[in-house]
Symmetry: C4
Subunit: 246 residues, 4 copies
């Protein structure tokens, strides 16, 4: 893993912490830039505290490569299962951000109502660990649970996890960070709007138009801003290639 | 463009970011102090990051004057169209501030309920890009869209944009910053009050009395405070002349 | 006015700003420690920015004593009228804190539901400038308006002002700052609790018991904390004497 | 009391303040590590301001041991009564955190809806000081009141106090701090979710599974993060032994 990718991943952790998307828990990974059958993820540590030396490599089944005594996240299986099922995915966020939790435990579907938030797509599924695994501690601590979650996600960018949080998958690190932040915003806005009355959501055509026309520059502009807020250096070079269109 | 105006515009950007009115997106412009057929607006950058060298000049149709390689905001047409239609307007804010979004996607009209917020006027129209332009990415990326929005705004100080945000137009930079901040406050207060029951809004006569009696000192006092919070130097001299009365 | 009182008043301004009770607007005064027919209040400036040299003296009718070119608050009449009507009052806060505004524009009475908030008393009246003065800009800019507000306040510690804010009056500076902060908290809590269902408020007997048994130490302990948060030095000596019991 | 325990208790105070669980009021204690019939608690001071020299020792009946002129919290009886009734308890938090207050004054039971919050257990009782003691100032200022509260708590980890706050009891300092923070989060999430519709809470089986499988590492990871946010040094050694399972 090259120094640039590693620095970007540390920065992503700090941004998600600064923006209130993760607290002591939650994590973000990238597919290894040089080896598609590996992913990079911090050792088990709060995102706000993560440094370069914390970043580990994993096989897609969750086996640490060269752990050097570092303790991995118990829920790393989330990441491997999504990379395994989705060759288009190069980055994954797992979050407990507060605004989205209510939409995982009630019958109100989370839907985009603002243009910045269209990247969640027109339908956000809810994965419930209980359906296939019964009464558990809700943590995704096996490849089997990870794969079940990845199946619920399907080809979509976001899945909620009942009583737990969400996963966000995308074509680049900056995209998933962006999507995780605006997913939380949309949840908060939808919550508020719901108290006022019926909501006019984005039409499916609008969501498609937003996804079809967005450029990576949108992510760059936000990334510079979030770097500044998180006290992290801003590197103009994004790490990955094309944008996801789904 | 003189150094004072340029510094004021940078400060306005930083204030709007500090007060949570803009995040990585949203922008604020002034009509060029010396040339009424031009306006000044940053290159495409998050307001929190903007420096003097980022400020560009544009013709009212959105053509950059001396861009020197700087990338303009795709939505600069919002600003030019309003300056074109409204000779009284000397500054424009485009915002996505969270509190106002619910009022753009529900049937509840945003109305002033507190004296500080009367500058939004008694009626706030909602512009929906879909009415004239169908399913788009909602961005105002042409002069035609900008003019349609400006027509919806009419002679008013504020228009909401469905699923997107708002525009605020006024006679001075300090006035539009003030209005954008208190617009957001009113939206948040109205949201809360709506959960309690029927709201007694300001009467039309009260709104008119507030607009008729307010002095630029109100804006100065707030500007000093916001400069301090944003870590920007406070310049006692406001940039522009008379107050808008509508 | 002695240096201790002056420093305390500056600190009170900074605390109210830091705790979100005032923004660019709102003010806090004390009755002059040595001359009961005068009060001390900053020149017209945002509380966060106020320094010792900004503190002015006023006669109870609002006439500045030795203004030395300093511009007074247009609403200083609030303070003078309350000191005039209430010999027991030694400090007054005028605030626009957001949580209380909805209770001034709806029919839901603000009532204490938590022990820290009992100092608002069992009944909080709403003063509406429109009742006696018709359509105005809502500002209390004359002795007549100030006296009308003071009459609505009566012997109570708090009155809401419709579409505007509130006044808090008490026996000491630390008491009114305390009361203004916990008034806002109660409003926020009552707002939330109201969405859950019927609220069990403090009984009148409990409110009376809290007022009868509280000691100035409660205010001291909070004052030290708020000084630390506001970056102000903490002076252990409170400025005034006995506690108000109503 | 050894230096390590003392430093941990100071850090716990600062964390609770930084995370908004306590303001000028609220407190946290530990059972004395070497003498099970004593507990350690700060003198009466805001948690944000507490330093090592503020930590006092008390007998379980609330008698200060070597007070050296330091003024104790009037409500220290809360702590002694719980240590007396619950040999398994090694740390207690008393909080007024805002999110939980509405659940103490309405008929909506607070219940865990998110995995991080399961440590509150499946049932949270509400202690009302009025039931046994009538109209008081609501403060727990005697051993009799403390014991009545401890009886309401029973063998549970959390009890709400009507119009006042809550107590959190657990097997270690890091556990009670963790539980107090996630109790507040759950209250906020439940409040929001309730506005959307019927909530799917964690099942009792899930709560049991979470309590049965959690490891002290969960607390360590959060503790490091909270230390960093509070500007406190992080000591990797937790102070106490086994985890509570109830």
């Amino acid at each position: 893993m090259d120094a640039h990718a590693l620095a970007e991943l540390v920065t992503a952790n700090r941004i998600l912490a600064r923006e209130g998307i993760v607290d002591a828990f939650g994590h973000v990974s990238i597919r290894h830039p040089g080896q598609a059958d590996r992913y990079c993820l911090s050792r088990a540590r709060a995102p706000e505290c993560i440094e370069g030396a914390d970043i580990m490599e994993f096989a897609l089944d969750g086996t640490p490569i060269g752990p050097r005594g570092r303790k991995p996240y118990a829920e790393r299986y989330i990441h491997g299962a999504i990379y395994e099922a989705r060759p288009d995915v190069r980055a994954v966020v797992h979050t407990h951000s507060p605004g989205i939790i209510p939409f995982g435990v009630t019958a109100v579907p989370l839907r985009p109502l603002m243009h910045m938030c269209a990247s969640m797509g027109t339908e956000v599924p809810i994965w419930d660990s209980r359906t296939a695994f019964g009464d558990t501690n809700l943590l995704v601590t096996s490849a089997a649970m990870g794969r079940d979650l990845a199946a619920a996600l399907g080809q979509r960018p976001v899945a909620l996890m009942r009583g737990h949080g969400a996963v966000v998958a995308g074509a680049s690190l900056r995209e998933v960070v962006f999507n995780a932040i605006y997913l939380e915003l949309n949840a908060n806005l939808q919550q508020r709007a719901a108290t006022l009355g019926e909501i006019r959501f984005l039409s499916d055509g609008e969501v498609r138009a937003i996804l079809a026309t967005r450029s990576s520059f949108t992510f760059e502009r936000a990334w510079e801003y979030w770097c500044q807020r998180a006290g992290q250096p801003y590197d103009e070079r994004p790490m990955e290639g094309p944008l996801s269109k789904c």
